[in-house]
């Protein structure tokens, strides 16, 4: 009759929960973070090993990047020597200069254009013969040609682009003699391509090696704690409850590892690399290697954190069968 009052015995036994800790997302996240920090405290050795591995692995990548970035900027410097010169056998009047200048700049790819007068050309020639000026006795500047020196934008410094630029240049009426150091441009470009290929290959292998080493280290550390995973699942923890602290731990390890590796890199850089620049650039004027730009630094930080997180995620999948 009064069936609503009749309670089946024991129905609420396991749901007798006095107060719930951390309701809502914030509370849960706080709990998981606290759990992750406790885990780190309770497994100091394992964490030191993991962070150390990540640090060393990322330090290698960072050093590679540092060298690569500097090489690239050196190469960028060299490529500025890719220059097209248009010769004339007479001095151009100012109106003529302006007319040619306008026609040439109208072609795409021009970054800088400069007129070299007979006097200027003669001065340069003399400069090159320093110490042997007697050779030029009786020679006047009239023997020198005048010219336009055209520097190209970096995207137009490939062999094919330079050639097509020169073809277009020759179509301008009044321009007949054009020089651009064909052989040098060709060699420079094949060297550039070789460098890029080598960089991509080395970088690719390095990144694969780093991912392999770090993910295996994380796998071993999680393997060493599989009892914990088993006990958690025995007492009824959900997948999220078991994995979240481990994932946070991986994230923290990855961040700590990448921060440490960047600190070490900076130490190495400050210690001796920053004045070892002439080594790579072959340019005594350069002040030394420059440090990694901000994008690379943040990329390494993010990469480290992701490495820790994804390494934990994939390892956990193997050991949890909840």
């Amino acid at each position: 009759m009064n069936k609503w009052k009749k309670k089946p015995p024991d129905v609420n036994r396991t749901s007798r929960r006095p107060t719930l800790s951390g309701d809502g997302f914030g509370g849960r996240a706080g709990f998981f973070l606290a759990r992750a920090l406790t885990n780190i405290r309770q497994n100091v050795f394992v964490n030191v090993v993991t962070v150390g591995t990540i640090t060393l692995a990322l330090l290698i990548v960072a050093l590679f990047l540092l060298v690569f970035v500097n090489l690239e900027s050196a190469v960028e410097n060299w490529s500025e020597r890719v220059q097209v010169t248009v010769y004339f056998d007479k001095e151009l009047l100012p109106q003529e200069q302006t007319a040619f200048r306008e026609k040439i700049t109208a072609l795409s790819g021009v970054s800088r254009i400069a007129y070299v007068s007979r006097d200027e050309a003669f001065k340069r020639f003399k400069g090159r013969l320093r110490g042997q000026e007697t050779l030029l006795e009786g020679v006047r500047s009239e023997i020198m040609p005048t010219s336009f020196e055209i520097a190209l934008k970096s995207a137009y410094r490939e062999t094919a682009s330079v050639e097509s630029f020169v073809t277009k240049l020759k179509q301008i009426p009044g321009i007949s003699e054009v020089q651009y150091g064909e052989e040098w441009v060709r060699r420079f470009n094949s060297f550039l391509n070789f460098m890029r290929l080598l960089g991509a290959l080395l970088g690719g292998f390095l990144v694969i090696a780093v991912i392999f080493i770090v993910s295996n280290t994380i796998k071993l550390t999680i393997y060493s704690r599989r009892d914990e995973l088993e006990v958690m699942s025995l007492v009824g923890a959900t997948r999220l409850f078991i994995t979240a602290p481990f994932l946070l731990e991986g994230l923290i390890q990855g961040l700590a590892g990448s921060l440490l590796s960047l600190a070490l890199l900076y130490g190495v850089y400050e210690g001796f690399l920053h004045n070892a620049g002439s080594f790579i650039t072959f340019n005594p004027a350069a002040s030394g290697l420059s440090f990694l730009p901000l994008e690379y630094l943040s990329g390494l930080l993010l990469g480290g954190a992701l490495l820790g997180f994804i390494g934990s995620l994939t390892s956990l999948k193997r050991f949890i069968n909840v």
Binding site: T14, T19, S21, G22, E228, M232, L234, V235, G236, A237
Partner: protein
């Protein structure tokens, strides 16, 4: 509380499996599962807490059909089941207190309540003075009592034990048996898999004997 209907289970490589198991265990019963090694005792217990699913047949625990549960539902079932093992399965880098509190943390209890309930449980088990010790420092009997405290701290409806006294001496066996009986008196259904004859003789109310994956005998005794 527990029902198995025509349950068949075969491991791929292993010969040990279950053949046509039919078993009913009522609320508040105290049952011993016995039989030689490889008879299927452990496999049967693993079915009951959802670590295995049968190839054929139905397994009902606390009114829920385990064979139809999704992986996400299994943890919720396990919150009403306590499990203890011969090797205790304690976390050796944590203290006695932390090992027991983990059950309540999973349930989402608040810190203060976890503290109170866990200490109360440890007191019942007679190990409250060792709450701050790493479990590795404890004797075998003490470790099993920690495992029992972890299994019982949330007052589960069912307690499953797999050879719980296999590593213990006689005095400790008696203590553990007493704890089982007390839990049973408080209303928990207890299923103990063991081939320890002494334990069965002292404690048995109902005895189910397995052999080669089949139930070969069921005996009930009036007095405990």
């Amino acid at each position: 509380m527990i029902q198995l209907h025509n349950v068949f289970l075969a491991y791929q490589q292993d010969a040990s499996a279950l053949h046509n198991i039919n078993l009913k265990i009522g609320k508040g019963e105290f049952v011993f599962l016995t039989g030689p090694s490889g008879a299927g005792k452990t496999t049967l217990l693993r079915l009951l807490y959802g670590a295995l699913t049968p190839n054929r047949g139905q397994v009902l625990v606390d009114g829920q059909n385990i064979t139809r549960m999704t992986p996400a539902q299994i943890p919720l079932l396990r919150r009403s089941i306590g499990v203890v093992f011969q090797d205790f399965k304690l976390l050796h880098n944590r203290t006695v207190f932390e090992n027991v509190a983990i059950t309540l943390e999973v349930l989402g209890w608040g810190r203060a309540d976890i503290g109170k309930k866990t200490m109360h449980m440890l007191k019942q088990m007679g190990i409250d003075s060792k709450y701050n010790l790493i479990t590795q420092r404890l004797s075998g009997g003490e470790q099993q009592r920690v495992a029992l405290a972890r299994a019982l701290v949330n007052d589960p409806k069912i307690l499953l034990a797999d050879e719980p006294t296999g590593n213990l001496d006689d005095a400790n066996k008696n203590q553990i048996l007493t704890i089982f009986k007390e839990a049973n008196i408080r209303g928990t259904t207890v299923v103990v898999a063991t081939h320890d004859r002494r334990l069965i003789d002292q404690g048995h109310k109902r005895l189910v004997t397995l052999s080669k994956g089949e139930i070969v005998e069921q005996v009930e005794k009036e007095t405990a």
